[in-house]
């Protein structure tokens, strides 16, 4: 007997397998494409390629590092015309540090070995041909001298030392004196107000002012010694530039480096990017404060949201009377997860900062308010309010995850515990919570991932472009909940859209994005590792 004709594809459902795998592929390609783009653009910032002298058709020339090459907008697709962007640096001379050049205008590119790249504290990088170096002790080294490179490196190192001593005085000691003066001023105003003797305070103030003055002159002296060391150089057009060596962060001869040298330079720059302080309106230098701020805020937020969420979920799942009211509560909680984050920011500003922070200031810092020109302590954005706002925003994620995890604990375990005479709370603490810990952690991971990448609400409740201090440091009480801090997500926004020199900021946007992604991935990996450990502990054996 013949079987009826069959569509050979249908029984195994192969078209559907293909179709669904297509969905996965599209998703993967998009994610990998995004990561690849960010990775390429982000890492290329730190690479030092050879730098040419470019001779143009009108007889002029320029020295610059090739930044990008693209099809000229408006040129026909059949015969595309390219243009190149060179980073020439020397913003103080040119007013900009990038130039676009039509490729047809390029007559020749040469790579002379004496081209020098400089990274500076101010005015961005510079690509020049050195002429002579005046050292700190007055000796002069000509560029042709074989000892020139070595002398230059020594001066750069000396310059770094000078800058270090200056920051130590400015940030450290003058900072302390400033804080003490601030406090003394408050004391003085209070004493005047309460008609108590002010002589001692005035004397302390005078002493502090004297100390301030000595420190100031000390700093000026150090600055002056640093300024004697100078480099005379020529740009492509032949104009002379004088670069004070105290301003130079790094020097390299891009056309003399071997591959290993370039790699070394790459990692040194990457290291500075991760561990250094920002310069030049954040378009250069490192991101340590932002990384640190993001990390501290995210961890603190997780510490806030986890207990709140878990306790709320325990009540919802274990204690509350299951009924229509509870269903409404549950739906509301779930909908909270869909509220746009900026709404949380507005709420955080209106409630946490103004109401809560304002009341805290009234209650505990009224002195400060009265005698210090109404400067708020907690009544302004800060780490605490940022963490609380994000904790509120991510609360539904943790609640839902915890509820699911509690519900997934086998009923037998719950019954076994109750049957031995354990109370409900003992059962929750001893059996349910440990068994649902992996599920709860999944919720925390999701919350952390969402919290670490959030920017909009933070802009309202305490993230700033540049914070003078870190939220966690060596001075008591170590974790400064009232301080404003820097954040990688905000940094990306700030660089990308608020930067005066968008060409200089563009590569940094990618590098910062890359760093943000890496940071979130690291945080998640950490949490996932913990979860897997827990899971292994509660894995049921086979029968």
């Amino acid at each position: 007997m013949a079987l009826p004709d069959q569509d050979s594809a249908t029984p195994r459902g192969e078209p559907w397998v293909w179709f669904s795998s297509l969905g996965l592929i599209v998703g993967l390609v998009m994610v990998l494409g995004l990561l690849g783009l960010v990775l390429m653009n982000g890492l290329s910032v730190f690479w030092a390629p050879p730098v040419p002298v470019v001779r143009l058709d009108d007889g002029t020339s320029l020295i610059g590092q090739l930044a990008q090459r693209r099809i000229r907008p408006g040129s026909p697709a059949s015969a595309p015309r390219y243009e190149r962007q060179y980073q020439v640096g020397l913003r103080e001379l040119n007013g900009h540090s990038y130039v676009w050049v039509d490729e047809s205008r390029v007559r020749a590119e040469e790579f002379p070995a004496d081209i020098l790249g400089l990274e500076r504290m101010e005015n961005g990088p510079a690509f020049v041909r050195p002429v002579r170096l005046t050292r700190a002790d007055g000796r002069v080294v000509e560029a042709a001298d074989p000892a020139f490179a070595e002398a230059l490196a020594a001066e750069v190192a000396a310059g770094a030392g000078v800058r270090e001593r200056l920051t130590e005085i400015n940030r450290g000691r003058i900072g302390e004196v400033n804080a003490a003066m601030e406090q003394t001023r408050v004391d003085l105003r209070r004493a005047e107000d309460q008609k108590t003797p002010t002589e001692a305070i005035r004397r302390a103030m005078t002493a502090l002012e004297a100390r301030y003055a000595t420190l100031g002159s000390e700093a000026n002296q150090i600055k002056a010694t640093g300024e004697t060391s100078k480099l005379l150089a020529r740009e492509a057009g032949g104009r002379e530039v004088v670069v004070p060596m105290a301003q130079v962060v790094r020097e390299w001869f891009p056309n003399r480096l071997g591959f290993a040298d370039r790699l070394g330079l790459f990692f040194r720059r990457l290291g500075e990017f991760i561990f250094g302080e920002p310069r030049e309106a954040n378009t250069e230098g490192g991101l340590m404060p932002a990384i640190f701020g993001t990390l501290v805020m995210t961890v603190f937020m997780s510490l806030l949201v986890t207990p709140f969420g878990v306790i709320a979920a325990i009540y919802l799942r274990e204690y509350a009377q299951q009924g229509s009211l509870l269903r409404i509560v549950r739906i509301s909680v779930n909908n909270l997860a869909g509220v746009p984050s900026i709404v949380f920011g507005v709420f955080g500003l209106g409630f946490f900062v103004y109401v809560l922070g304002g009341s805290i200031d009234q209650l505990f810092f009224s002195d400060q308010l009265k005698y210090n020109n109404n400067t708020p302590v907690f009544g302004t954005g800060g780490l605490l309010w940022c963490s609380l706002t994000l904790a509120l925003m991510t609360l539904p994620v943790v609640i839902v995850a915890t509820e699911e995890a509690l519900a997934a604990v086998p009923r037998g375990m719950r019954e076994a515990s109750l049957a031995t005479g354990a109370s409900k709370w003992q059962t929750i603490r001893e059996i349910l919570l440990p068994a649902s810990a992996p599920g709860i952690l999944t919720g925390v991971i999701l919350a952390m991932a969402r919290g670490a990448g959030e920017v909009a609400p933070l802009m309202l409740v305490g993230v700033v472009k540049l914070a003078p201090t870190l939220p966690l440091d060596g001075t008591a009480p170590f974790l400064h909940l009232d301080r404003k801090f820097m954040h990688l997500g905000f940094h990306v926004y700030d660089l990308g859209f608020q930067s005066p020199d968008s060409d200089a900021a563009r590569p940094m946007v990618f590098a910062t994005t890359l760093l943000l992604i890496v940071l979130v991935v690291c945080l998640n990996l950490g949490a996932i590792t913990i979860r897997n450990r827990l899971r292994a502990r509660y894995k049921t054996a086979s029968f």
């Binding site: 076994a416 109750l418 001893e430 509660y538």
Partner: protein, 273 residues
């Protein structure tokens, strides 16, 4: 020692060889009916269980044995929409007495479940869990209780070297014996066992039956079983249920040798349904 259950005078007066000494209606179930929502699972059950005796509940699957057993320590309270009528008293006191805390009831009435349900903790912590929840902290006492319970449950020799390992790494039968050890660790007065041997091999089953014989000197035991032989071997009395009704309840020899109901005879001789 654990002094949760102060020995009653009657307990001290036990004379070996006279197991029937003690209260005849130690657990008394009177006209008990039970509903899961609209579904009636038990109908007008009346059973009197004597102190320090073993009573077996038998009957076809779904007839309500577990339901009745789980009512004796009010385990069914966890289920939504349940309702009961009639009365259950233990030693004269109603278990539904509002003045009686469910927790203290459950400490006096231990239970071994039909499906083994060890906690995701170490073997040691599983056994001493009932002592931990009443606040026993003395390590020596806990260790002693752990060893005695595990020995009684015929598990000691297999696990004595791995007490700190997870209980979830045990075999199915070992898990069930662990649950028995856990249930007797705090020396309840009554032990409810819901098919305790369904996952065990004949040797372990034998040991559990021995244990039941031993425990009878101190505890009152109610056991649900599907094995006629087991019911005949371990129990003093047997109750036969069918479709939520109690068909026959009498001395075990009587039920097995000379049942008064035709349904009982049909069931125990295997000519049923």
């Amino acid at each position: 020692m654990i002094t949760m259950n102060p020995p009653t005078p009657s307990r001290i007066q036990v004379r070996p060889g006279n197991p029937n000494e003690g209260r005849q209606d130690y657990i008394s179930i009177r006209d008990f009916g039970f509903w899961y929502g609209d579904k009636k699972a038990l109908d007008a059950i009346s059973v009197a269980i004597p102190e320090r005796q073993v009573v077996a509940f038998i009957g076809p699957s779904g007839c309500g044995k577990s339901t009745l057993l789980r009512n004796l320590n009010r385990m069914n309270d966890l289920i939504d929409g349940i309702r009961h009528e009639g009365e259950i008293t233990i030693n004269g006191r109603s278990i539904y007495d509002p003045g009686l805390e469910v927790i203290s009831l459950r400490r006096r009435v231990g239970m071994v479940f039909q499906k083994s349900n060890p906690f995701p903790k170490s073997i040691f912590e599983n056994v001493v869990y009932a002592l931990r929840v009443v606040g026993v902290k003395d390590r020596a006492l806990l260790e002693e209780a752990c060893e005695t319970s595990l020995r009684k449950a015929a598990l000691w020799d297999e696990v004595k070297d791995r007490l700190e390992d997870s209980a979830l790494g045990l075999s199915g039968g070992q898990m069930q014996r662990l649950c028995i050890a856990r249930a007797i660790a705090n020396r309840p007065e009554i032990l409810l066992m819901d098919e305790p041997c369904s996952a065990l091999d004949p040797i372990a089953t034998g040991k559990i039956e021995e244990l039941i014989h031993e425990l009878k000197a101190q505890f009152t035991i109610v056991i649900v079983t599907h094995s006629m032989q087991q019911a005949a071997r371990v129990s003093d009395r047997t109750a036969f249920f069918y479709l939520g009704k109690l068909i026959e309840y009498d001395k075990t020899e009587k039920v097995f040798m000379n049942p008064s109901q035709a349904q009982t005879e049909a069931y125990i001789s295997g000519r049923f349904g």
